[in-house]
């Protein structure tokens, strides 16, 4: 009898420039990362997480939001994302899917380890053809300027037949 068992694929590091990301009081203008091609990756789910670090003397009691965008055809992305590592003001932020809201404090250069979150769950149970992450924050100052103090990674989940 063949048994399907879940298996974890290789960890993938996302391309997204979070260093010095500007604050937006309205929590709209942020940064999107390069899209992940799930047609190639062929995962039934992806567990995404990472590290984001606040800047110098952020305003207390603010937040950093992590969202995912997706593509229904491999070309067009939700919220007018481009699929590339670029600043993004979504056409409508609620067209993306919220992963998490990170409450922040006034401590300078504080690293927040977030995730893992299920990408499939964010999209209602099924992985889109392509997807990526979007970050926005209102901490009052730019995020930490060192690229190495930020990261986004995911682990694809697949099934093996044994």
């Amino acid at each position: 009898m063949v048994t399907a068992t879940p298996t974890f694929g290789s960890v993938t590091t996302h391309t997204i420039t979070l260093a010095s990301l500007a604050s937006d009081t309205n929590l709209v203008a942020g940064r999107a990362g390069t899209a992940i091609d799930n047609v190639s990756e062929d995962a039934v789910d992806a567990m995404v997480g990472g590290i984001v670090t606040t800047g110098t003397t952020p305003t207390t009691a603010r937040q950093i939001e992590a969202w995912v965008y997706g593509s229904y055809d491999g070309t067009t992305y939700s919220g007018a994302a481009t699929g590339t590592d670029a600043n993004l003001t979504p056409s409508e932020k609620t067209l993306l899917k919220l992963l998490t809201v990170i409450p922040t404090v006034a401590t300078s250069n504080k690293a927040y380890q977030w995730g893992p979150f299920s990408v499939a769950q964010a999209f209602g149970g099924t992985m889109p053809r392509k997807w990526g992450v979007f970050f926005v924050h209102n901490t009052g100052v730019n995020l930490n300027s060192t690229g190495g103090n930020h990261e986004v990674k995911h682990t694809p989940i697949k099934y093996d037949s044994v």
Partner: protein, 252 residues
């Protein structure tokens, strides 16, 4: 989709009798203000026969206005203090009303900025009801429905317990978990949820999706007065727990 309340059309939801008036209990919901202003009621329980007994949340004083949680017994009112401001129109706020006892009432708000605020009243005040009426989006006592609100409500939950056992200020992690992951994500609350209503369903009765009731109270229904329509839903995290999502272990 939430329920979109339009004051100019005198729209609101109501039911008589209110299923729960005995303390402690908790009411929580998301609210999107479209035109916040003086003296407009978001939620409350009102004595049908008079104007002197109620517990109600409304916005008051200026623009942007302030949240006011009022308890009124035989005409004497007690308000939570300090009052908290509504941030602005076109923004989602998560509100938690905790009616712990006649001498302990809390209001907690999670603002769209990420900040939270908590305010309390400990003055003894015990509204008395013969026929309690509960309303969303209006004030309704013996004078009839009044002071309609403008905005969108979603993810309404009523729990027949104080969600925080010590009766003290609500912890911010609990406030955020309720807001972004839902009341069903907190196992010890599940058995006390008497009504959960996502308001994702469409009018007239918003019954199609995301409705649950329990704790011995049976099905709960609202009357849709003057055609409340569906509006946008707040963005919720992908792991927001809905009534039918998996099992929960309650440690007793």
């Amino acid at each position: 989709m939430g329920i979109k309340l339009v004051a100019a059309s005198t729209q609101f939801l109501n039911r008589t009798p209110a299923p729960l008036t005995a303390y402690p209990y908790t009411v929580a919901f998301w609210f999107f203000f479209t035109n916040n202003a003086n003296y407009k009621f978001l939620w409350g329980i009102y004595e049908t026969a008079d104007a002197n007994n109620k517990i109600a949340l409304y916005t008051d004083n200026g623009f942007p206005s302030s949240f006011q949680l009022q308890s009124q017994a035989a005409g004497t009112s007690a308000f939570v203090s300090p009052a908290m401001q509504v941030t602005a129109d076109n923004s989602w706020h998560y509100v938690v009303i905790r009616l712990v006892s006649n001498t302990n009432r809390w209001l907690s708000v999670l603002y769209p900025s990420g900040a939270s605020s908590h305010t309390q009243n400990v003055t003894s005040n015990a509204p008395a009801y013969t026929t309690p009426r509960e309303a969303i989006g209006a004030y309704w006592n013996s004078d009839g429905p009044l002071y309609y609100h403008n905005g969108i409500m979603a993810e309404f939950v009523k729990i027949n317990a104080d969600i925080q056992a010590d009766g003290a200020q609500l912890q911010d992690w609990m406030l955020r978990q309720l807001a972004y992951q839902g009341p069903f994500s907190v196992p010890h609350l599940r058995k006390n949820i008497i009504e959960y209503r996502s308001f994702r369903g469409g009018p007239p009765d918003f019954e199609e999706a995301g409705v649950a009731w329990g704790a011995g109270k049976g099905p709960q229904f609202w009357t849709n007065t003057n055609s409340v329509q569906a509006g946008p839903h707040p963005p919720l995290a992908g792991n927001y727990r809905r009534p039918g999502d998996g099992f929960a272990v309650v440690i007793v």
